[in-house]
């Protein structure tokens, strides 16, 4: 990333993505803040990134796709044949 105070949208969105996982350097945090103040698209990106991160965790608890019945039958017949440990 270049050294000047102004960064591009591409760089700003990269910093947004890194922000939660890694502690950004003070200078990068400032550059991001300045960019977000001026750029409504990157501000939206930041907000939407937050929503995505929040919602994605719920995929672990919300059942979206059920197992097809034929797959269940295949697995049941397979595990029926397995010998249980003594």
């Amino acid at each position: 990333m270049k050294k000047g105070p102004m960064i591009s949208c591409e760089e700003a969105t990269q910093l947004v993505v890194m922000k939660n996982g890694e502690s950004l350097k003070f200078y990068d945090r400032m550059r991001l803040k300045v960019h977000l103040m001026m750029c409504k698209y990157c501000s939206r990106f930041e907000e939407q990134n937050r929503i995505i991160e929040e919602q994605i965790k719920k995929l672990n608890t919300v059942s979206v796709t059920e197992m097809p019945d034929d797959a269940k039958l295949r697995i049941e017949s397979k595990i029926d044949k397995i010998n249980y440990p003594k």
């Binding site: 960064i7 890194m18 990134n49 929503i51």
Partner: protein, 192 residues
């Protein structure tokens, strides 16, 4: 069949009835292939039968089964990772689709207003279906990085080690994946 075997087999049958959908959903979110997801769930129950002795001491059935499945998924990822070459990683870096030469948003890629005011709830099944679909459209390595970080909350260093990528590769892959996922959600969910 001994009494013990009968009891164990009844136990497994009830675990299968209660958790097969949950485990399948868990697997399909992470591997995006119905056959592989089926195999992983099957392997999970085979492993569960073999270690059913250990189960008695465990407290929660779903936690125990999910832990087995999670290990199977990581094994699957490891096999995949060994097939990757540097050039396939390079294509995951490209953000030209989203930004012009100066690094500004291309006009047709600019994030739209999602109109999600405070209090607006997105707890709808439809949203999660679309989210799952959008994740499935990520390239394999992107999806692996994404799933390990955002769904499983794994440590960044561990992810890099497991998937054999550098930390800077990691951030670029996450960046690219986020851009793609955001766009996919906007097109398929928000605009609907």
């Amino acid at each position: 069949m001994t009494e013990k075997e009968k009891k164990d087999s009844k136990k497994i049958a009830s675990l299968f009835e209660n958790y097969s959908d949950y485990l399948y959903n868990y697997a399909i979110t992470r591997v995006n292939d119905v056959h592989i997801a089926e195999d992983l769930v099957q392997d999970t129950f085979v492993a569960a039968i073999k270690s059913i002795k250990n189960f008695e001491s465990k407290s929660k059935e779903s936690t125990w089964l999910t832990a087995i499945l999670k290990n199977k998924i990581i094994d699957h990822y490891r096999k995949k990772v060994n097939k990757y070459h540097q050039e396939s990683i390079d294509t995951l870096y490209n953000t030209n689709e989203y930004f012009d030469e100066r690094g500004s948003w291309r006009v047709d890629q600019r994030p739209a207003d999602w109109h999600l005011g405070s209090g607006h709830s997105i707890d709808q099944k439809e949203f999660y279906e679309i989210l799952q679909k959008c994740i499935s459209r990520l390239k394999e390595l992107q999806r692996m990085v994404f799933v390990m970080k955002l769904l499983d909350d794994e440590d960044t260093d561990d992810i890099c080690k497991e998937l054999k990528i550098t930390t800077s590769n990691y951030w670029v892959i996450i960046h690219r994946a986020k851009l793609q996922l955001r766009k996919c959600l906007e097109v398929t969910w928000i605009n609907n």
